[in-house]
């Protein structure tokens, strides 16, 4: 889309086109699918700006937006400043500053830095291929597994003892404290038999 057309769309959204220019643009919107797509996206952005859309958007929304923005060069320093661009300078400056803040946060998400948590770890630097990421459907795979719950109490008791060791090394245990030990304490062969 040309920068002239972006200008026109922007002005149209701001009600700054005169009657004939508006009619001409509406005709173009009716006949140009790509332009209509831009129009719809601009309206969405404007709605977000006005807080008309919940910030909790569908997954992938932001990625799509970034992709689209990267394809649409933004002029931060227009050569001329016609009437309909009168706010572009200060707004663009503010926008750039805000964007840089956003990008900085994106690039450096907060990490807890308490001294008590500044621990060395033996985190593996061993590269292991990752299995494909399922978005869903593992439950059906899980259902297909033969979960042959052993009737041998010794097997279950053995796993229960291993769980005591596992609890100590489970990251979530930092939050849940002793609660996971309930599995050991509450283990009752009479009840847990399959």
């Amino acid at each position: 889309m040309s920068s002239d057309m972006k200008e026109k769309l922007s002005a149209f959204m701001d009600g700054e086109l005169d009657h004939s220019e508006s009619l001409e643009l509406i005709d173009q919107l009716n006949s140009d699918d790509e332009l209509r797509g831009h129009w719809q996206r601009y309206n969405t952005y404007a709605s977000v700006l006005k807080d008309e859309v919940s910030p909790v958007l569908s997954s992938g929304f932001s990625e799509k937006v970034i992709q689209k923005l990267s394809q649409e060069p933004v002029q931060f320093a227009p050569a001329a400043m016609p009437k309909r661009r009168r706010l572009a300078g200060p707004m663009a400056g503010l926008a750039v500053a805000a964007s840089l803040m956003g990008i900085a946060i994106l690039l450096q998400k907060p990490v807890i830095n308490d001294a008590s948590e500044d621990q060395t770890s033996n985190v593996a630097q061993v590269s292991v291929p990752a299995l494909p990421l399922p978005k869903s459907g593992l439950s059906s795979t899980e259902a297909g597994l033969i979960v042959a719950n052993s009737k041998n109490e010794n097997v279950r008791e053995r796993i229960n003892r291993l769980l005591v060791e596992h609890n100590e090394y489970n990251p979530a245990g930092d939050m849940t404290g002793m609660l996971p030990y309930s599995r050991f304490v509450g283990y009752n062969p009479r009840v847990d038999k399959p």
């Binding site: 701001d14 952005y45 946060i105 907060p110 770890s121 593996a124 593992l138 100590e168 090394y169 002793m178």
Partner: protein
């Protein structure tokens, strides 16, 4: 170009809102973590696990700067666990046995949840905070840590507004189905707790005690004779320990994997005869076992059954 400016601000605000949501959630989780370490409390809670409901009591007291905790069931076998900063005592009176294990060395070994990088956590989970709700007659804030895929479970948590203590925790799958729940029914925070409440109901003298002869020894990950050909997305091998089998003499290799929140343990021990492949489901915990080259591999974790199976099948001996 007013629109371009608007757009950039809109996206910046969006990103900021995401970052703030993460930060807010993390701040609450951090507070919960501190509460788990710094508060005295005495409470009765429910553990709902499939069709089983257990009622348990947990007591925690800081005495001369040292933490003492006691957990026991109010029904059935009078098993209990007593824990201090260094050791965990497991009482099994129905078997006339007890076991003393060493606690994970958080200073030099396992990094723990709150030391994890937020990037790692948010790669695999979506963090958000919700409204205040009432749990155990206290005001609690709702925190969600939901899985981004089917390779892990998530948590819905309710933390005490005043102190940050975790009052309710629900382990959920990707569809938010509850798998396991802990919920305080009554909890007293900050009250004076008599020392007698931290004494076991079964005398230590009545049990045959098995002790860890020495603390688990951490070995460099690359030095392990075992390796994974592949892992479910998001999981990394973070530690390898050599230790004794709890309540046994047998030496084990204990490999610990994590995705930033969920932990999976892989135990490897020598056996005399091959064992059948088996899958066990014990509430939220899934376990998978198989034999490899005269060793029994057991994978356990609060993760979907398919995950323990995938991890167990991917383990091979280095050549």
């Amino acid at each position: 170009m007013k629109l371009a400016g608007h757009l950039l601000i809109a996206f910046s605000l969006l990103w900021l809102s995401y970052a703030w949501a993460d930060e807010q959630s993390l701040a609450l989780l951090k507070r919960m973590n501190q509460a788990a370490g710094n508060l005295d409390f005495d409470g009765v809670f429910l553990h709902v696990n499939g069709n089983n409901i257990e009622t348990l009591r947990v007591i925690r007291k800081i005495q001369n700067g040292k933490v003492l905790e006691r957990l026991y069931s109010l029904n059935g076998n009078p098993r209990e666990v007593i824990r201090d900063a260094e050791r965990v005592w497991c009482f099994m009176p129905e078997r006339k046995m007890g076991h003393v294990g060493m606690r994970a060395d958080k200073q030099t070994g396992f990094p723990g949840f709150m030391a994890s990088n937020l990037d790692k956590l948010t790669e695999n989970y979506i963090l958000s905070t919700g409204d205040f709700e009432r749990v155990a007659d206290r005001n609690a804030v709702h925190i969600q840590i939901l899985p981004r895929d089917a390779y892990r479970y998530g948590y819905e948590m309710w933390a005490d507004k005043e102190t940050g203590l975790l009052l309710k925790s629900v382990l959920v799958d990707q569809q938010k189905n509850a798998i396991e729940q802990y919920m305080f029914a009554i909890v007293n925070i900050g009250l004076n707790i008599p020392d007698s409440d931290l004494q076991p109901m079964t005398s230590k003298d009545e049990l045959e005690w098995h002790n860890d002869k020495k603390p688990p020894e951490m070995i460099p990950v690359g030095d392990s004779p075992w390796q994974f050909n592949s892992l479910p997305a998001g999981y990394d091998l973070i530690n390898v320990l050599q230790r004794a089998m709890p309540m046994g003499e047998q030496q084990l290799e204990h490999m610990i994997l994590s995705d930033g929140l969920a932990g999976v343990s892989v135990f490897i021990e020598k056996i005399n005869k091959p064992s059948d492949v088996s899958m066990e489901k014990m509430g939220a915990v899934n376990a998978y076992s198989r034999s490899v080259d005269g060793n029994l591999i057991t994978v356990v974790g609060e993760v979907p059954a398919a995950v323990v199976k995938l991890i167990g099948e991917a383990l091979t001996r280095k050549h």
